[in-house]
């Protein structure tokens, strides 16, 4: 895989203006490097040139080319537009969509160098990640997403016409409030089709007939207890409880919703599920795209296809993308996923080709193996942020970032530094950083645990509190009100410490104020 830098070629371009022939030429050169040297395997690409107004449009609809209508997107648009017009923020150079073909939006005002960077970054980096990463393979349907969004938009527009904009808005508001709790975090066993159910039933009866033994009837106690069962357990089983996907539960079980309202919940839930892998792979996804564009741009430069001027322009942009301000810098707003992902991948490359003694100790499989492309590919395919950091964050990167851990107990008056970038601290820092990127841990774990079917149909939720962090009260109450409106009856929420089962906090039962049904 060692690139031979000797072959010098003509520069692909010299100016900054571009036309479609230029982009095609650049695309072909990038594709050659991406496929031959990095072994990337992306979806077919579709590159669409848009202007700033269209970019703002895309921002407001979660980056998708089409989306159903809701006031919150209008709010988003108004905010983005204001920030942009006042010059507080720039716009992204590109937006890329996990679909087949993979659509990349590129801005018309980018220079040709920037377009080159963007094509390498989005059309190859992100695209490869979308197609190959396990989470995306298992949870998203790149072939169907655009058709589905088209259906969703049409369906919701039709509902608005038929039932009124306000009625649809009520359901969407309530559903949006539950969006983070509207995903399946773990794969469920495939639900069986009706035919399979019937076959299984026949099979079971035949088995019982074959193995019938009258003696079993005489065994005391057992049978009676089984028939009675525990009513709570039976109910839980029948309702499929506990259930962490609140939207799914409401869609299937809420007693008073109409068909179209269930379908709207389903649409929101499907959208939430589609975006869930992206939330879990921010560092990896951006790291992948950044590492790919950096490698490709460097290779283009080495082979003479990129002029010195263009390469400098690229480096200027690249360094600002991967800039990580320190914690006391006013620009600091958390760990920059571009910086972290890129640093880890670059470090893998370094370890594979020029390992130190420390690397051999920490990463015996990678150190000196030479095949860094293979390691990258494996990481992109099988990992998400949490496991990626846990597996590949090396002491050197921790030192380079000068990462340290602060223990923050809300009860204590001061924060305590309890691990830094030294030998005893590496593993601690790494574990905590991985946890911070574990979405399932970062988002509150709220489940439906019971429904009072014999009584007043009160829906009981439980928040399994992690590290003593309870919910923000005002918001929680607002969401519960939405939930009650969908459910149609009272809703209760307990906050429980899972280790002890102790109830830390109890919300009074919230009654529906304006039930949607």
């Amino acid at each position: 895989m060692a690139p031979n830098a000797a072959v010098q070629q003509q520069p692909l371009f010299t100016g900054s203006d571009w036309d479609y022939r230029d982009i095609m030429r650049v695309y072909d050169a990038i594709e050659r490097i991406a496929k031959e040297e990095l072994g990337l395997d992306p979806y077919p690409n579709q590159i669409e040139v848009i202007d700033s107004e269209q970019m703002l449009d895309a921002y407001a609809s979660m980056g998708m080319p089409l989306f159903y209508r809701h006031w919150s997107f209008g709010k988003q648009f108004a905010r983005d537009e204001m920030l942009y017009r006042k010059g507080y923020t720039g716009l992204a150079y590109e937006i890329v969509i996990n679909s087949r073909p993979c659509i990349s939006y590129i801005m018309e005002e980018n220079t040709l160098t920037m377009q080159t960077l963007v094509v390498a970054h989005a059309a190859f980096g992100h695209n490869h990640f979308f197609k190959n990463n396990r989470l995306f393979r298992e949870w998203t349907d790149a072939d169907g997403i655009l058709d589905y969004l088209d259906f969703a938009k049409g369906y919701i527009a039709e509902c608005e016409e038929r039932y009124g904009v306000q009625a649809v808005e009520r359901v969407l508001d309530a559903a949006h409030a539950l969006m983070s709790q509207g995903v399946h975090r773990y794969p469920k066993p495939q639900t069986r089709s009706l035919r399979e159910e019937r076959d299984r039933e026949i099979e079971r009866i035949r088995y019982e007939e074959q193995t019938y033994n009258d003696l079993w009837r005489t065994v005391p106690g057992e049978a009676e207890a089984a028939a009675e069962g525990n009513p709570v357990e039976r109910r839980m089983q029948r309702l499929g409880l506990p259930e962490e996907n609140l939207l799914y539960f409401l869609e299937k079980r809420a007693p008073r919703l109409e068909h179209w309202q269930r379908e709207v919940l389903r649409i929101v839930r499907n959208v939430a599920q589609y975006f869930y892998p992206q939330k879990q792979t921010k560092v990896m996804n951006e790291g992948c795209a950044t590492a790919v564009h950096y490698y490709i741009m460097s290779r283009l430069h080495e082979t003479g296809q990129l002029t010195e001027g263009a390469f400098l322009e690229f480096l200027h942009n690249h360094t600002s993308v991967i800039f990580q301000p320190a914690f006391d810098d006013p620009r600091f707003s958390g760990i920059n996923p571009y910086a972290l992902g890129f640093a880890i991948l670059q470090d893998i490359q370094r370890m594979a080709t020029a390992p130190t003694e420390e690397d051999r100790r920490w990463f015996p499989d990678i150190a000196g193996c030479g095949d860094w492309v293979g390691v990258w590919q494996e990481a992109w395919r099988e990992y998400r942020d949490e496991s990626f950091i846990l597996q590949f964050l090396s002491p050197k990167v921790i030192r380079d970032f000068r990462l340290f851990r602060v223990h923050d107990d809300a009860q204590a008056p001061e924060l305590v530094v309890d691990a830094i970038h030294d030998d005893p601290g590496y593993r601690e820092v790494r574990r905590s950083l991985a946890r911070r990127h574990d979405i399932a841990r970062q988002e509150p774990d709220i489940q439906v645990v019971d429904v009072d079917l014999d009584g007043d149909r009160t829906l009981v939720l439980e928040h399994r509190v992690v590290d003593g962090i309870t919910l923000e009260k005002g918001d929680a109450l607002a969401v519960l009100r939405n939930l009650a409106d969908l459910w149609g009856y009272d809703v209760k929420l307990y906050e429980v410490a899972p280790e002890t089962g102790r109830v830390m906090n109890e919300y009074p039962a919230v009654s529906p104020e304006a039930p949607v049904a």
Partner: protein
Amino acid sequence: MANIIDRRRNPKGKSLANRQRFLRRAKRQVLDAVNEASGKRKVTDVAGGEQITIPADGLHEPSFRKAPDRGVREHVVPGNKEYVVGDTIPRPEGGGGGGSSQGSPDGEGEDEFTFAVSRDEFLDLFFEGLELPDLVKRQVRRSEQYTQQRAGYSVQGSPSNLNVERTMRNSLSRRIALRRPRGEDIRELDEEIDRLERTGTDPERLRELIELRRSKQERTRAIPYIDPVDIRYNRFDPVRRPVSQAVMFCLMDVSGSMTEEMKDLAKRFFMLLYLFLERRYRHVELVFIRHTHIAQEVDEDTFFYSRETGGTLVSPALTMMREIIDARYPTADWNIYGAQASDGDNTPADNPATSKLMADSILPLVQYFAYIEVGGGQMAHVPSDLWRAYERLAEGDSHLAMRRVQTRADIFPVFRDLFTPAELKG
């Protein structure tokens, strides 16, 4: 291989529908903000949109979030310079801690929300549901203005009004009806004749075909492709157009008893009325008449910002209004509106004259006359002289409306009240 597509020509403003939903949602806050902003502008200076800031509550999108000030967290942050294990850091202001790595979970500041509304959106929100009273009844007046309206087709007209589609349709049906040979039929004949001539096998048939072709060609010449009877023109009829211009008279007492605050209230009311009229009429003119014991027509700045001293007589202002109407705004061409703001002072001897003027020479001409009594303070519960004088007139005439305004907050409700159609009032 990639597809590259230029989307720049695609329709923009895909978020427009979302924006409308958002504005409707934020209506109450937007109205408050707009109300606030309206005091800062000149009455006629309403061009361009408005930057408005609204509080974010009500637009808040709730979700289950972790409380920032509970429990135990571990933050990993970059850029350590001097800390070693065991060091303590004072808790940063504003919760979170450990740098702002916790921050606001959705990355949004939720306190205030600033955005721009266009002029149309601004006014739509402002005047939603309001109507001019009795507009229809009085608007149908004799008018000299005409406009063109499509009125079917005609067989004569100017070439620029030629309707090609109709003409060709007529031409086609006539050609079919008269069996005009089609071009391709003749071409086929030509080819057949050509073939027979070359081979020379069937001279009998060749002769027949040549004869057939000759007759067909004659028929083609006799029946034209387009005949004058086919031709149709778009036809336009002139129709009378309702008067689409209005004039608004602003009358204000500027004597010493009117404080700046009262004038400010009056100004807001005039502004609202102007904006409202402007949306209903193509062209709106303003006439400012200020009065103490004498009346003067002045420009806007003088009207609002200069002070006069003197007694208070209302009748000269009404007389002047009537004179201006007669001189410049014939009722055939103009819809006339009047708005008067005063603290209610009038020299008692003038009240009968004022009533008479109002009843005889103003109300018959105007579409609507609104009287706003501003301020008042401790005297609010006692009807002023002017109020009593007008009250008697208002009972019998729906074109005169009167309201009291004490504070800024009253202006908009009063305005809405005046112009909400009766059937919409709850």
